[in-house]
């Protein structure tokens, strides 16, 4: 069955700390991978996406993610978080030829000054 696992449900960091959020997927065939972010009181926004090519993808606000095909993983990273990164982060996977997405359960990130 197609699924997405996000291992960290709640992460608490201090400003300037490094961030890595895990995402693993189970999906037959070629996939597209996404990270969405939901800031408090706002709607879901696309952070970054991978379709093909360089497995290291850079997104907005200094975020990046690395696709490791052998590990079925697409972990999100940021070298130095800010208080404004406090949000919920969702990993999602889609099939190669459609925009249909399956989401993980999300990781709540709290950054303290």
């Amino acid at each position: 069955a197609q699924s997405v696992s996000q291992h960290n449900h709640h992460v608490i960091l201090s400003e300037a700390a490094s961030l890595e959020l895990g995402c693993n997927y189970s999906y037959g065939g070629t996939v597209n991978l996404f990270w969405y972010v939901q800031y408090p009181g706002q709607h879901l926004q696309l952070l970054l996406k991978y379709f093909s090519g360089d497995p290291l993808v850079k997104g907005i606000k200094g975020f990046e993610a690395e696709f490791i095909k052998s590990k079925f993983s697409f972990n999100l990273r940021k070298p130095s978080v800010q208080w404004s990164d406090t949000a919920e982060y969702f990993c999602a996977v889609g099939s190669y030829n459609t925009d249909k997405l399956i989401f993980g359960t999300g990781t709540r990130l709290q950054v303290f000054p």
Partner: protein
Amino acid sequence: EAGVAQSPRYKIIEKRQSVAFWCNPISGHATLYWYQQILGQGPKLLIQFQNNGVVDDSQLPKDRFSAERLKGVDSTLKIQPAKLEDSAVYLCASSLDNRRGQGQFFGPGTRLTVL
């Protein structure tokens, strides 16, 4: 450009009542999605439209949920009758078309509470 619009933002009803949600996608977006997001979970796709045709409704509980997208623009999602477990945020999203690479743009959602 204007984003995806949804209304109402909040709705409280009693079980067995009916409720309807409205979505206006980004202008020109052919594909429209309805998701259900239960507290503590990620969004789950309920139904996907391409223009005014249904592409995927495999996860829509058709005994109580219905959706339509007349004229290929606005869409409504209805629950009749509602159950307690329908309490969730209902998200609408749209994309330019259903080919990969377009990305989905989400609305603010409607938070439904069923008492």
